[in-house]
Symmetry: C5
Subunit: 306 residues, 5 copies
């Protein structure tokens, strides 16, 4: 998952480097006008940017909060997906461990069920990122299931339906009792809830008017700032304005990145990494120590997140 | 659902264009008095609007927060409706998949049950928008159910009662066992909860005194602003005042729109779109690939939301 | 429930009219001293009320938040009471719809159970408002139950006990199975939780020191304000001080009203209206279209809430 | 429970009277130096305390929030204890009301079970306050249980274990069915959760560095304040500084009191009062109208809380 | 657990002593330049640090909030682990207390099950701290289980699987009935959830950009501060700047410590202490009063937390 390493200063500023360049140029022009060409009646009282700064800070704080909440909720949902995937496997394996004759059929049933659950995680991640949800599914599904899945729009939902039918089959075979069947179904219901929550976050945009207004306010504020401080700072105004502008722009940028945790960006929820962790855990529960292909591990660039 | 596209600047400002026009006129009159007619003793210290601006920002932040929470809760409820509709269908289909003789009656039962659930979503959305809740219900209900439904005030609630009676019927027929019957009833209970939560948000107004007071404060603040900055800015005061006024008015407008997520406005919760997504998912689960009428898709104007 | 209508400006200010009158008198005296009697060395720097205003705003924001949360929680609880009343009725009616011989006894049982639930809502509302909890109960209870209820301190709790015993009776009679009996009991548990939560909000006062301190701070702030602005505004100071004072006092008043949602005031949670909505819904589920007495509808004055 | 009465001004200020005395002396010395001895170059710009005041307000708001949340959570937990105690009694009484022969043994079993639950509440309250948890337990337990309880460190936990064993006993006797037994056990689980949550709040201190830093900042701020306002206010500075200092100190004091809701102070969660309410309710459910000793009612001093 | 004692002032400041030293030196150099070498045109208006201070306070408040929430969530999870460990033991002991013949096998089964649960807590704590998760496990597991555990990556998860298989074994033996088996499994599911939540907090870093930006802003702010106050305070500026700098740095430090509650630091969640509390409680429930080795008690240095 995410590593917390030394992050170079350059990386952080890199995110707003074009905006910052414009700000520096703009501030320099103001300083040039004022100091070199003596256009001195353009100063404004510092109280104006003060009041604007306070208001923008409050709105930015509100926005950071909501964006952070979306990001954290996305992370919580995927945490819950880990838990319920493990729970589903534990329940299935322990409930059917009591079957007297451990014949081939039960073992095959357990294998294919747990593998389907492993596949579900990858499938959900890919479908949230609007990638091909079927990619790699052949490793986790039987030929027949794979073909069946192709007919559905909502692939992860269809996989849960297959789970549901399999559990009823296990009830009919007597591998689980009536009570256990309902309990397994409840775990499916929770997985269905997690899936729906991810879709909700994915499909609901943060109120656009708000973001836009905030963006214009910040630009307006930065535009006024040089005129308020030029009188006292002279050329020293350029780094000052750049520093204050950088801070507002960085916080805004962070909010934009946090608020859409399922876009296909290097900074989103590490769904592939999480799905792989689940795969490792579930395979060990099945005692299937197949070596996993390493190339699927999230690449190094993902470490510089947020 | 909602698309995040480039939104023209004009659209955003369009929401407050009449208010803004008044502000510009007002500020111009002040500037005219001051600069042209030399009425110069009307300036006030900038500290007065500074303190008012801070206080209004805090109250606006509180209000945006509550309005956002209402909007987000509405969105969460409809997300949960999606999940529990899928869960209800999955449970019914998988629980009854174990019935030995898949005779006509079971298949008909499943079809009419799932269709009623599809209808429930549309019915709830229409009843929350105070539209005719029966509209289009003939497509999802049998003739007999349709007539029965007309006698009830609370249509969505009546549909859940029909669900409940059907599940008991399935228990008597032996299509589901006792545990499964109660489990299905629990999903109905959750759907009933979601419905009640929507009604609560719909029927509870945001404290009116608060909104009103905030509105008057903003007007008062904008009224004072020109007198505080006219001295420094001269005619440049007009765009400055307009910009600050626009920002406060836009944030207020956003809060007003977010706080009533079930009014029949282009910006509310996209209930019809969500209901249609559920319809598509549930019909695929039934393997009923009827082509849906496209004209019901939410119109393009709905994309510029919030 | 609550209607959002045009609320006259006078109504809003009416809530603080006495306080406002005192403020206007006080500010006028200060202006009189300063302008007419030339007592000019009483001015203070505007920074003092600025800092106090900011601090008070922050504390007021904190308080509004907690008060709003209490009010909203109360509203949520009553929303949940609506849901669980409907759920209880739906469960009872659908669970017992399977009884082969729909003899008189079952029908009578269902009637008296659902009516008792209707009565419970009114009883809870009246007991929270410290009114006579027994009022009107004779319409919903049998003579025997009514007399029995009189021996209990906590009437709503006693009604839930009667529910509980009735459900066990239904189990013994075979009208519901073991699994359904426990499921009905769970709905009772949730109703018991809602009742307890209402009592908690009713019985726990908002920290009094905090409210009091905040009140004194606002008075102190208003007391200082005229001296800070008299120099710039002269007689125009009176409306300015009145406007700022009105805003602080109104927000405080709103918090006071929101924080006690079960006091017998026109602005509290509309418990009677909600209980009547439940009555209508439940009677329709029983197919009992008795015309309800209209005089119990919440009066018009209740519309100007908050 | 807590009453909201007229609280004398003196009571509120009494909490910070020593601190306030020091502040008044200190401010007087500054005024004396400045006015009488003309040490006039000690003034500082008012902007310094302004900025400090804003920052401290923000941190104080954060702290009040967390402290309030702890206090409110404690109150919610005890509200839930009320609910689940009633639920446990209702379930036990209604589940066993179906036993055909209401012989002596069942009645005795019910009595001792419900009494033990009454005792549990007092025991938990006393153990949270680090008082003798066994005090008064002889009234609610049999001799044998009382002796057994003495061997356990965690008394309330041991009482729940006794509950658990009794419920299994009832299952063996056939007084409750298998399903009801599990349902009763779930109520025990919830009670166990409430107990653990109380212990968590009791045992986790609010981050000490934060409190301490905030305290020093307030002292530092008050120390600077006189120098910033002496120039404008002269001797009038003393009440001004005292008023501002009082407000900060009072809010801080409130946070300190709220953050530890289970210390044995007159202002903590009214656990004894709540436990007595439960006792009254549960005894009425058992139809045991024993007059309770009045001296255990929370004393009058408890009314001036917070 | 954590003790709230008198904490020496030195301890608190010790956390930022190097940073503070640099600040003092820096401020002294500025004072030296200004007062001794009369470099007087380096002053800047105090409004600049005022606006920066306000903005930084808001961002710091947001950050403190999120960091506190992570810390408090971690604490809540471990509180829930305490509760569910007790619940698991209570359920197992009371459910099997009904077995007629209390033969050796049942007693041995209960012992090994409860001991494994004790071990699970230590194992989870050690694995979260990236210590050797197997350390000390030999005291809680049989030889066979210990060897088996070594093959798994996720040790705590593997222990829950063993629990699951044991419960199914108990069902087959008839020691628990079907309902009780599923109820025990549900407690396992909750423990699995708690484990997953801990991993989520451990593996998800707080958005790094945000922390970094905030850190640079504070440095920049402190760098500007002396120039803004040197004019009024002269040499007195040094303690003033040091005090303000200390407050910002301390709050930031606190947030850094709170946000990672599972790093192996003296200030993290007291997992070992909690695990030992659970051990004591569970052993008493088993009536196993083995004296625990005292050296494992959390050392005294842990008391000065946060």
């Amino acid at each position: 998952m995410l590593l917390k390493d030394k992050i170079p200063m350059g990386y952080v500023l890199g995110k707003v480097k074009y905006e910052l360049l414009v700000v520096v140029l703009y501030a320099s022009v103001v300083a040039l006008l004022f100091r070199t060409f003596n256009v001195t009646d353009i100063t404004i009282p510092i109280a104006v940017p003060t009041i604007m700064g306070t208001i923008i800070s409050l709105l930015l704080a509100f926005r950071s909060n909501q964006a952070y909440d979306r990001w954290w909720e996305a992370r919580q949902i995927w945490g819950a997906i880990v838990n319920d995937s493990r729970t589903l496997a534990r329940q299935l394996l322990s409930f059917t461990s009591g079957v007297e004759y451990q014949d081939e059929e039960v073992i095959h049933f357990r294998n294919s069920f747990v593998k389907r659950q492993i596949g579900w995680n990858f499938c959900l991640g890919q479908s949230l990122r609007k990638e091909n949800a079927m990619q790699g599914m052949e490793r986790y599904l039987s030929k027949r299931e794979y073909l069946q899945l192709m007919h559905y729009d909502n692939k992860p939902s269809a996989l849960l339906d297959m789970h549901g039918r399999d559990i009823t089959y296990a009830l009919q075979k007597g591998w689980v009792n009536e009570y256990q069947q309902v309990e397994l179904d409840r775990t499916l219901t929770r997985l269905c809830d997690h899936m729906g929550k991810c879709e909700r976050i994915k499909n609901t945009v943060f109120p656009v008017t708000y973001s836009l207004y905030l963006h214009f306010s910040i630009i307006f504020f930065i535009g006024l700032l040089p005129f308020a401080v030029i009188d006292f700072f002279g050329w020293a105004e350029v780094p000052l304005v750049a520093a204050i502008a950088a801070s507002f722009l960085l916080v805004e940028k962070m909010a934009i990145q946090l608020q859409d945790p399922f876009e296909n960006k290097p900074t989103d929820t590490p769904m592939t990494t999480i799905a792989r962790t689940i795969e490792k855990n579930l395979r060990q529960m099945l005692n299937d120590h197949t070596q996993l292909p390493e190339q699927e591990i999230a690449p190094v660039t993902q470490f510089y997140v947020l």
